[in-house]
């Protein structure tokens, strides 16, 4: 008789989403979450990016359904605003949860490794 396979808890790193787990995109989602609605120029300054680079990341996030982009005019000035979608909000929460689990795992492993070293 074979024993049922032991359930192995997945490492938190496997739960990280490749679309979200990227420096700039994670920054965009964080700013959009706090700001509720954020303008392209504010994001560019806050993240220290060129307009082209930021646009590329916004396209990736928009295609993944994590943000909604709204283009319009204020007077003669063209402005682009973006908001976080429900899926984007969930993805950001998941990412932060996984990062916290990773930290927890690293901190839990620390006493063991220091005990081996002594």
């Amino acid at each position: 008789m074979t024993e049922p396979p032991e359930q192995v808890e997945q490492h938190p790193a496997t739960g990280l989403d490749d679309v979200v787990h990227q420096r700039v995109r994670l920054g965009i989602l964080t700013v959009a979450h706090q700001a509720r609605r954020v303008e392209f120029g504010f994001l560019r300054t806050a993240l220290g990016l060129t307009a082209g680079n930021l646009s590329q990341h916004l396209t990736v996030l928009e295609k993944a359904g994590l943000i909604a982009v709204e283009k319009g005019y204020e007077g003669r000035r063209a402005r682009t605003w973006l908001t976080l979608t429900a899926a984007g909000d969930r993805a950001l929460q998941d990412e932060v949860t996984q990062l916290k689990r990773l930290i927890q795992q690293i901190e839990n492993a620390r006493p063991e490794s220091s005990a081996h070293g002594s």
Partner: protein, 246 residues
């Protein structure tokens, strides 16, 4: 501007710290605490002038006195001042926050503050209307408030009166604003304001007799000064951020 707030190859700790720094930056861009504090402080200190201009000392027959002795009745304050003043303050705050957020390129979470303000405005207006229709209760006369039979002269009634008046109309929205802006300093200021409002700094305080046209001065000057100093402090604290942001 090179402001890479989230580390490229950081540890999870560094990544979370970077996200926290970005969040603080957005909150700083969203805040405009000095403006509502300035309005509420101005409204409160303006109450001194309104009380001075509407001050009346009347001699009326004492209620429940068979001998028919005369009592002194002091009237001051306008039933229109707080409802109109608060309405304009909340309207101006909403416009200020929306325009500021649009200019800075971020959204605003001012709606809960404005909605609380409007709800309180309705409560203050209803209280003013009730007081106008029923007149000021005399000492010793029973006061019915939502089934409670209160004595206007009792300390508990006076405490309730203070809590239902300016303290509620100004202090509660400040607590909501502190929550919206995640500001511990504003929370402290709101709690301090409510504590000052609940201390019986009534008439006769600071050697000013009840019949003096300036008898309302300490009641409005102390909380008003606190709000105006708070506005000054927040305005100064926001200045360096504006300079670095530009």
């Amino acid at each position: 501007m090179t402001d890479a707030s989230v580390p490229v190859n950081g540890t999870p700790h560094e990544v979370l710290a970077g996200l926290g720094e970005l969040t603080r930056k957005v909150r700083a861009a969203q805040r405009g605490t000095w403006f509502p504090l300035l309005l509420l402080g101005g409204l409160t200190t303006g109450g001194i002038l309104v009380a001075r201009l509407t001050h009346q000392v009347l001699t009326v027959p004492c209620v429940g006195d068979p001998a028919g002795a005369d009592c002194t009745l002091v009237r001051q304050g306008s039933p229109l001042y707080w409802p109109i003043g608060l309405a304009l303050a909340y309207l101006a705050t909403a416009v200020f926050y929306v325009r500021r957020a649009r200019n800075r390129g971020v959204g605003t979470a001012i709606r809960p503050y404005v909605l609380t303000g409007i709800a309180l405005l309705a409560a203050v207006s209803a209280t003013s209307l009730w007081a106008t229709r029923n007149g000021m209760p005399q000492p010793g006369a029973p006061l019915d408030l939502w089934g409670l039979h209160l004595d206007p002269a009792a300390p508990a009634t006076r405490l309730l009166q203070r809590l239902m008046g300016d303290a509620l109309a100004v202090g509660l929205p400040l607590l909501v604003l502190a929550r919206v802006e995640r500001s511990r300093v504003l929370l402290l200021l709101a709690v301090l304001y409510l504590a000052i409002e609940l201390v019986p700094l009534g008439t006769g305080w600071a050697g000013i007799p009840i019949t003096s046209p300036w008898s309302a001065l300490p009641r409005y000057a102390v909380p008003g000064a606190l709000l105006l100093l708070g506005a000054l402090g927040f305005a100064l604290a926001e200045r360096p951020r504006e300079r670095t942001a530009s």
